[in-house]
C-alpha cells in the first residue's frame, strides 16, 4: 500500500464499512490514497479528533455536524462530504418489557412502527427509559419523532439516556434502561447475550434516514479539493461494492477483525443482509433496506436531510426553526459531492433537495443519465417534509 495517507477516525460499528472497505478492497489505493483508520472509543473523541486536526475525515453520526452548525454539541464546524449509510439501527426492549408486550397480545412483526409504538407505550408504564448512543444521533431523532407522533410527549414523557453502544446490552441487563435504539451489531449483541429482544428496525420509523456521514473540518475540503474528491470517489466505490449482492460475506469477514468491529462475522452478516435475529428463540425477520450504502443515491448528501435534522432539533430546543433549517441544509455539501463524482459513472440526481417522506415505492427521478431510481422514503406516519422557501 502506498499513496497519500489520510487519517480517518471511525467507531467500531457495521456502518463503518464504507471506510474499512475503501481501504481493504483497494478503492482508496485506486485513488492514490492510503487510509489510516483510527478506531475511536467514543463519538465525542471522534468529534475532537476531527476538530483538532488529528483526523482529516471521520465516520460521524449525521446529526452531530448539524448540531455543531447550530452551536450546540461541541465547538467548531464540520462539513458533510457524503452520506456513508442510510438506516441500519434497531430498537430493542428488555426481556421483561417484551414479556409484558407479548402478554398484551403484541406479535413482534419487526415492521409496523405504529403498532409497535402503541404496544410499547401501553406496556411501559409512566417511566420509560431508552438508551441511545449519543445525545445527537439519528437514534435519538427517530425516537423523539416516533414517540411524539404517537402522542407520547418526548423528550418530556420519556427519558432518553446516553449509553455507549458496547455497554448497551449490559445496561439493559442491569435494568438501567427499558429499551434502546442503537446501530448494529449492538442490538444483535443484546439478543445474542439473551438480555433483550428486537422490536423494530429504525427504517420502520423513517425508511430512508441518513445514519452516518463522512465529515471533515469546515474549510478542509476547500484547502484540499483534490484529496477530498479522491476520498469521496473511493468511498463511493466502496459503497457500491457493499451493496452488490454476494459481497456481504466478505465484508462481514473483514469487519469482524479485531482492528475493526471485533465481533463474530456471523452477527455482522445479519445487519448487512437485513436478516436480524430478534429474540433468543432464534426468530428471524427480513427487512428490505435495513441498511443501504449505495442504492437510490444513498451516498448523496441531500440538503433536505440536513434541514430535517436541524428543524427537529430546533423544535426541541426552542431555536428559530427556519434559520436552523437553512443552516442545517448548508452543512450537506452536495456541491462537493457532485464535483467529485462528475467524471464517474455515478448517476447523480438533478436536484440537491427532495421532499423527505414522499416516496412510497421505488421511483425514477431526473438525473444525469435519466436512469436513477430512488428507494422508498417514507415516515411511518406519512408526514412529508419540504424545505421552506428561501432555504
Amino acid at each position: 500500500m502506498s499513496g497519500l495517507e489520510l487519517n480517518i477516525g471511525f467507531m467500531p460499528l457495521v456502518d463503518s464499512a464504507p471506510l474499512v472497505i475503501a481501504q481493504e478492497m483497494g478503492f482508496a489505493d485506486q485513488e492514490g490514497l492510503s487510509l489510516n483508520l483510527l478506531k475511536s472509543p467514543s463519538w465525542s473523541a471522534i468529534r475532537d479528533m476531527v476538530t483538532l486536526g488529528r483526523a482529516d475525515a471521520v465516520h460521524m453520526l449525521a446529526p452531530v455536524p448539524i448540531a455543531m452548525s447550530l452551536g450546540i454539541g461541541g465547538q467548531g464546524k464540520l462539513d458533510v462530504l457524503q452520506v456513508l449509510s442510510v438506516s441500519g439501527t434497531a430498537i430493542g426492549v428488555s426481556l421483561d418489557l417484551a414479556g409484558r408486550m407479548r402478554e398484551a397480545g403484541y406479535s413482534f412483526d419487526f415492521a409496523d412502527a405504529t403498532a409497535a409504538g402503541r404496544a410499547l407505550i401501553a406496556a411501559a408504564g409512566p417511566e420509560l427509559r431508552i438508551g441511545v448512543p449519543f445525545p445527537f444521533s439519528m437514534q435519538a431523532e427517530l425516537l423523539y419523532y416516533w414517540l411524539s407522533a404517537l402522542g407520547f410527549p418526548a423528550p418530556q414523557g420519556v427519558q432518553i439516556r446516553t449509553v455507549p453502544p458496547p455497554l448497551m446490552a449490559e445496561a439493559i441487563a442491569k435494568g438501567e434502561i427499558d429499551a434502546f435504539c442503537v446501530g448494529e451489531p449492538w442490538g444483535s449483541i443484546a439478543v445474542e447475550n439473551g438480555v433483550g429482544e428486537l422490536l423494530l428496525p429504525g427504517a420502520a420509523i423513517w425508511s430512508f434516514a441518513p445514519e452516518k456521514v463522512l465529515a471533515v473540518r469546515q474549510g478542509w475540503a476547500e484547502a484540499e479539493p483534490e484529496l477530498a474528491a479522491r476520498l469521496i470517489r473511493a468511498v463511493w466505490r466502496a459503497g457500491r461494492w457493499l451493496d452488490t449482492p454476494g459481497n456481504q460475506m466478505t465484508a462481514a469477514e473483514i469487519l469482524s477483525r479485531s482492528a475493526y468491529v471485533n465481533v463474530p462475522a456471523e452477527i455482522i452478516e445479519r445487519a448487512l443482509g437485513g436478516a436480524l435475529v430478534i429474540n433468543a428463540r432464534g426468530d428471524q425477520r427480513q427487512t428490505a433496506n435495513f441498511q443501504v450504502f449505495h442504492r437510490g443515491a444513498a451516498g448523496f448528501p441531500w440538503r433536505s436531510q440536513g434541514a430535517w435534522i436541524a428543524g427537529q432539533m430546533a423544535g426541541r430546543l426552542g431555536l428559530d426553526r427556519k434559520g436552523a433549517e437553512k443552516t442545517g441544509a448548508s452543512v450537506m455539501r452536495s456541491d462537493l459531492y457532485r464535483a467529485a463524482l462528475s467524471r464517474e459513472a455515478a448517476d447523480l440526481p438533478g436536484a440537491s433537495s427532495k421532499l423527505e417522506g414522499s416516496l412510497p415505492s421505488v421511483t425514477a427521478v431526473s438525473s444525469g443519465s435519466g436512469r436513477l431510481f430512488l428507494e422508498p422514503n417514507q415516515f411511518f406516519d406519512r408526514r412529508i417534509f419540504d424545505l421552506p422557501t428561501g432555504v
Binding site: 472509543p41 467514543s42 463519538w43 465525542s44 473523541a45 475532537d48 483538532l52 488529528r54 450546540i72 454539541g73 461541541g74 465547538q75 448512543p133 449519543f134 445525545p135 445527537f136 439516556r161 446516553t162 449509553v163 455507549p164 458496547p166 455497554l167 445496561a171 442491569k174 438501567e176 426541541r316 430546543l317
Partner: protein, 194 residues
Amino acid sequence: MSKRLSIVVVEKDRDRARLIVDSLRAAGDYEIHVIAEESALARKVAEKQPDVVLIDVASPSRDTLEELAVASGPLDRPVAMFVDRSDDNLTKQAIEAGLSAYVVDGMRPDRLKPILDAAITRFHMFQRMRKELEQTKRALEERKVLDRAKGILMKARGITEDEAYALLRKTAMDQGRKVVDVAQALVTAAGLLS
C-alpha cells in the same frame, strides 16, 4: 475570595484515581469527588454540581457526559468541553496526554490552568506507565520465542545454547532482519512441520 472549585474525577481504577486526586490536592485547594461507576454517570456527575469534570479520553463513558453539554440537560449550568477556544494549545496538550475535561461555561482561565496542568502531568505519567508495561510484555514474549527457537536448533542440530543463539543472530544479520523475527519464523515453521 471566590468559593472553592469543585472537581469531579471519573475513573474506575482506584489507584489511578488516588494519584489524580493527590496531584490536584498538591496544585490547590479544591473540593474533589471521584466517581467510579459507569452506570447513570451523567446523573451522578450532575448531582455534584462540579465546576470541572476530568475523564480519560479513552473512556467510552465520555459520550454520556455529552448530555451535560446540552443546555436542556440535567445540569442547569451549561458545560463546554474544557477549551476555552483561546487556548487551543492547552486542549492539544490535554488530548495528547489522554485527558478530556469539561468545565462550566465562563470559568476564568487562570483558575482552570493549575488544575489542568496538574492533571495533564499525571495523565502523561499514566501513558508512560502504559507504554512501559506494553514494552515489558513484548520483551517477555520475545524472550519466550527466542528460547523456543534456540531449543529447536539445539535439538535439531545438536549444538549448544550459545551456538544456537549465534546462529540465529548471524542469520538475522545476513538477512537484515531482527533476531526475534527470525526466531518467530523458525518457531512457526517448526510448528507446521511437527
